[in-house]
């Protein structure tokens, strides 16, 4: 075990797999010598050479298309999109190409070795274009896996699993936690299975579900609720596509209540999908409507960031309302 922040854990995962898999390549804007604007790829160019870790020209659609080509030809590309807010020029290559490569060719070709890493989320005074949480655009695209870690230990195991997964994965990294989240991380190689949620706190009254940077927010809200005698079962979804219906449904059948929290705007957010599925699976067990505590239906604002965010206080209030329904 070693104390690491999330960037170090991600860097460690990349180095472990580059060591084991000489087909793995790491690239993106500023990722070479500079190690990326957040330093997630620090030292990889020096360790594995400039042919395996390198800067690309400033073109996200190019990065994604290039990654598709590499993966289709048997390489293992790990492409960094500098901010998730800048993934949209690559949308066509990800949604129409990465996601459909296998299906459209009858599995003649696939880009299963491909992983996109990209920092997402707010809380860093980043305004519209350094704060967005665009995961729902990708969860609606069959063929892509979507993964979001909550802490360094999870980030390392989930990233290793994502890189080795036989499907293209969009790996969203909560940038607010890059340096803020520090914890024990096992040395060496390990994986966390994709598609499995993680019950981080057992409880009996209400299931509180989130992922990524919002995990620490909902854990704080659960602590506040505990002082009122409310027992929260806290679950980290980890994989949004595919997502672990079974674990969530099992929990809701026990607690009878569900609250889902995400940073992205409410309307069209992934919480809607979860709510629809869980009311189908657990209809007769539900004791109150499924609650959603999400970002407002506005672009991510700079000065009103606090007001916009689905913070611990809003989550705590929603837990109480759900209990008192």
């Amino acid at each position: 075990m070693a104390q690491m922040n999330m960037l170090q854990a991600i860097n460690d995962a990349l180095a472990i797999e580059m060591e084991k898999n000489d087909k793995m390549l790491v690239f993106g804007e500023d990722v070479g010598h500079f190690g990326g604007v957040f330093r997630a790829t620090s030292g990889l160019k020096e360790k594995f050479g400039p042919d395996r870790c390198f800067n690309t020209p400033l073109t996200e659609q190019g990065i994604a298309g290039f990654a598709n080509g590499l993966a289709a030809n048997g390489h293992t590309p790990v492409a960094e999109i500098q901010f998730a807010d800048y993934i949209f020029p690559a949308f066509d290559q990800i949604v129409n190409e990465s996601a459909k490569f296998r299906y459209r060719s009858g599995s003649e070709f696939n880009v299963g070795g491909l992983t996109y890493r990209t920092p997402y989320g707010g809380g860093i005074a980043g305004g519209h274009y350094h704060s967005q949480s665009p995961e729902a655009y990708f969860t609606q695209t069959p063929g892509l896996k979507v993964v979001v870690p909550r802490n360094p230990e999870q980030a390392k195991g989930l990233l290793l699993a994502s890189i080795r997964d036989k499907n293209p994965v969009v790996f969203f990294e909560p940038k607010r936690l890059y340096r803020a989240s520090v914890g024990e991380v096992p040395e060496g190689d390990y994986e966390h299975e994709l598609g499995k949620a993680d019950v981080v706190q057992q409880g009996t009254d209400i299931t509180v579900l989130a992922w990524g940077a919002q995990m620490e927010i909902v854990e704080k809200a659960a602590e506040m609720a505990a002082k009122d005698g409310i027992s929260c079962e806290v679950i980290d979804l980890r994989s949004l596509s595919p997502w672990d219906v079974e674990t969530v449904a099992e929990s809701v059948k026990k607690t009878g209540r569900l609250l889902i929290n995400h940073e992205a705007p409410l309307t069209g957010g992934f919480a809607g999908e979860i709510a629809a599925t869980i009311q189908q699976e657990c209809f007769l067990y539900l004791e109150s409507p499924i609650a959603r505590v999400c970002g407002l239906d506005t672009p991510y604002p700079l000065i009103h960031e606090k007001e916009y965010m689905p913070d611990a206080l809003k989550t705590y209030e929603a837990i109480k309302s759900t209990m008192n329904f």
Partner: protein, 392 residues
């Protein structure tokens, strides 16, 4: 011939063209000491314009120095300087008319100042206060002004390039005899939007000026890792576009090139590409430290080619500026900037209602409901939301 690919010459053995096949000269008018080359053709410039240009140089130098300092003190969250690129931006802005529409990338605060943006407007934006035209929604330096024909800055790179083509086409259809000017860096020129924007401007005959600030770096990535061609200018020729490369640290050369480009664009309804060769003397932004990717020696070489010093020497030689006036100008702006910081940082944040305004022309019922619930929540926990609590 419907295909514009002209075949001028048929050959009978293999020979390739390469990056050196195209010889692109660089326009320079001012020498390093501020004197004019003997055979140089000067742009049209009078004393009043020259003074306004120099005044803008000093203002921006002071603004950049003081606001980077304010960022370091934690008074604002973010800043970007344009140090070293003042001549490229001011020289081009001075060639325009007020009706010409500016679409900036993000490092062109000098063009906005030249148009008349006030110290107060700059500060109100950077402090995200209630008087900010952008209502505090974007990070510092994302300025914009309808009155000054300056589109509001958007962080994603290169998106403004095809937009400038659309603006220019609109100006043409309105018979405005005006151009759009689109600023971008050599890094943004790698984005797909660059190709889309320039090709459409050429094919649709849009009077747009594409002004590339080739400043050597895109954050940490040097130009030699960004492209292998003969700069950005070589691409303009490929699009069938009038193209010129200019010394971006030479105020008069930039002015001359942009004046000629504007005249050509308006008369012929055609785009022009200008590549200004310069150097980003400062960091990419206040979040960046260039010592990790380039040497002090390299920076010093460019510091010695300071565009403001070169223009100042010319102004002094013209008798349009004295050392005393220059010192007084710096002193005046230092005082004014500092005074405005103190005023703007005390102005309250935009009202909570502004959260849901402008998402659409009118807030939707769902947004109104979300705002109502938010207000109830803020009222319950006022201490957690100090920017808006108690103000509605």
């Amino acid at each position: 011939m419907s295909n514009a690919t002209q075949t001028n010459e048929i050959v009978h053995s293999v020979s390739f063209l390469d990056r050196d096949s195209l010889n692109i000269p660089t326009l320079r008018i001012l020498q390093a000491d501020g004197s004019v080359y003997k055979d140089a053709v000067l742009p049209s410039i009078d004393e009043e314009t020259a003074k306004r240009m120099y005044d803008t140089c000093v203002f921006i130098r002071v603004l950049d120095e003081r606001m980077l300092g304010a960022q370091r003190q934690g008074r604002i969250s973010f800043y970007m300087t344009c140090t070293g690129e003042e001549a490229a931006v001011i020289g081009s802005a001075a060639a325009l008319q007020d009706k010409d529409v500016i679409l900036a990338q993000y490092r062109e605060q000098a063009a906005l100042r030249y148009r008349g943006f006030t110290i107060e407007q700059f500060m109100d934006q950077m402090f995200s206060n209630a008087k900010d035209l952008g209502k505090g929604r974007q990070m510092p330096i994302h300025y914009g002004s309808q009155a000054l024909n300056y589109h509001t800055v958007s962080s994603p790179l290169g998106t403004q390039i095809p937009q400038a083509t659309g603006v220019a086409y609109s100006l043409k259809m309105n018979n405005d005899k005006a151009v759009s000017i689109c600023y971008f860096g050599e890094g943004a020129a790698s984005e797909g939007d660059f190709h889309a924007g320039l090709n459409m401007a050429a094919t649709l005959n849009a009077p747009a000026l594409f002004f590339c600030r080739n400043n050597g770096y895109a954050i940490s990535t040097p130009a030699e890792e960004q492209f292998k061609g003969n700069g950005i200018a070589s691409r303009g020729v490929g699009y069938g576009m009038h193209t010129i490369r200019v010394d971006g640290n030479d105020m008069l050369a930039v002015l001359a090139a942009t004046q000629a480009a504007r005249d050509f664009a308006v008369e012929n309804n055609k785009p022009v590409l200008i590549e200004a060769m310069s150097y980003r003397v400062g960091a990419h932004s206040s979040s960046d430290d260039p010592s990790g990717y380039r040497s002090k020696e390299e920076e010093d070489v460019w510091r010695a080619q300071d565009p403001v010093a070169r223009f100042k020497s010319w102004m002094l030689a013209q008798g349009w500026l004295s050392e005393e006036e220059d010192e007084a100008l710096y002193a005046k702006y230092r005082e004014e900037v500092l005074a405005q910081v103190k005023v703007s940082e005390k102005v309250e944040a935009p009202h909570i209602d502004e959260l849901i305004n402008d998402v659409y022309d009118e807030p939707t019922p769902l947004l109104q409901k979300q705002l109502k619930e938010l207000k109830e929540h803020v009222n319950k926990y006022p201490q957690a939301y100090p920017k808006t609590a108690g103000r509605f």
